[in-house]
Amino acid sequence: MTAGGSASSGASPGASPGASSGASQGAFVRTGAAGYRPGRDPLWFARTRTYTLFVLRELTSVFVAWSVVFTMMLVDAVLGGTLPDFAALAARPWMIAINVVALAATVFHAVTFLNLAPKATVVRLDGWRVPAWMIQGGNHSAWAVISAAIAYFVLRTP
């Protein structure tokens, strides 16, 4: 941690909006600024478990993006007639490793995303608030059904 401004007078930016007597903004009277401002902590996310989990969730976005790129490569290969090359690439051990990690990350991202949905949309039926677990359950059920449908179309033997 580093030392901030000293206890001398003079408002530091950002903290004391009504810094001087009779200031109009917010109209509160304040003649001095706080003494100590902790510096920014570059490792803030490592300090508590919940922050770390949050940052991990954010990082999974990279793998979600990779999954999109990979899918587009697949589509490109199908349309360009280079599917065997693509299949060979996809079968390499390091590629499988990446995709296993990507699948896990995407699932983690999807699960947490769907769990957060009730926060963004409060559903009321005739004044009764639909509880979060129902919305989450609905989301997961819908997700499972859609995934199953896609799997059915992709995996069915022609």
Partner: protein, 252 residues
């Protein structure tokens, strides 16, 4: 407090170590920790421990407190790394100790455990947290009707005690003090969702430093002692703002 002598002595044998952050402006350039041993009593909150220090061990310690019943919002501090109301956090929760007491993170420190929240107050004011009406007012003989369901629609967001624990827990606010922050947005939503309100707070909420600054860490909701759920308030307004941007004619 009504700590009677006999009970004090009875449990007086057991103590717990409180490590309290001290910062004296003008004298210290860096905060230091000072340790105090206080009686470990079953009924004592962290605040009672601080009061014991102030009254019996070291009168120069500064901190804020008032109602000691979790409703005035004064006594928020960082207790073992977590933002807590010290009046409702019991010493026995920390077993053998030590308990580390620091000021709320994310705010400049004035002295010891006292932080500067003027910035928070300015943010509260900026969302126009009052009932906005248009047209003729009803006379002071008639109330605006509001059904229990309409009351329920915003009630939760009206429970905020302005303790600022959510700001302290929010990494976005700690990294970027310009972020409007959880409590102010929840308060804006308290009025937005009030059936009597005719105001519009889109201009102050639909900003990079307002709802869009939120990355949905969710810590604000986790630490909120009054179950206001500011994270929900913010996400709901994101949806409102997004719909409004797509459908410019829709209000709210």
């Amino acid at each position: 407090m009504n700590a009677e002598t006999d009970t004090t002595e009875e449990a007086g044998a057991r103590t717990i170590r409180m490590e309290v952050m001290r910062f004296r402006p003008g004298e210290d350039t860096e905060p230091v920790f000072q340790g105090y041993d206080v009686p470990l009593m079953a009924d004592w909150a962290v605040l009672d421990g601080l009061n014991h220090i102030k009254d019996q061990l070291d009168g120069s310690l500064s901190y804020r407190w008032s109602c000691r019943m979790g409703v005035c919002g004064s006594c928020g501090m960082t207790v073992n790394g977590e933002p807590r109301l010290t009046c409702g956090t019991f010493l026995t929760e920390y077993g053998q100790g030590p308990v580390r007491i620091e000021p709320l993170k994310g705010f400049p420190v004035i002295k010891d455990l006292v932080v500067d929240i003027d910035d928070f107050l300015a943010k509260l004011s900026s969302v126009r947290p009052w009932l906005i009406r248009e047209g003729e007012e009803l006379p002071l003989t008639t109330e605006y009707a509001q059904t229990p369901a309409q009351l329920e629609a915003y009630k939760q967001y009206s429970m905020c005690i302005n303790c600022t624990l959510c700001y302290s827990a929010c990494p976005v606010y700690v990294l970027d003090p310009d972020f409007l922050g959880p409590a102010a947005i929840a308060l804006a939503q308290r009025y937005n969702l009030d059936s009597r309100d005719m105001g519009d707070r889109f201009d102050v909420l639909n900003l990079d430093d307002a709802v869009w600054g939120c990355t949905f860490v969710g810590e604000c909701t986790r630490v909120c002692p009054k179950h206001v759920d500011p994270a929900e308030a913010i996400q709901r307004y994101k949806l409102t703002a997004a719909l409004r941007s797509v459908l410019p004619w829709s209000r709210r």
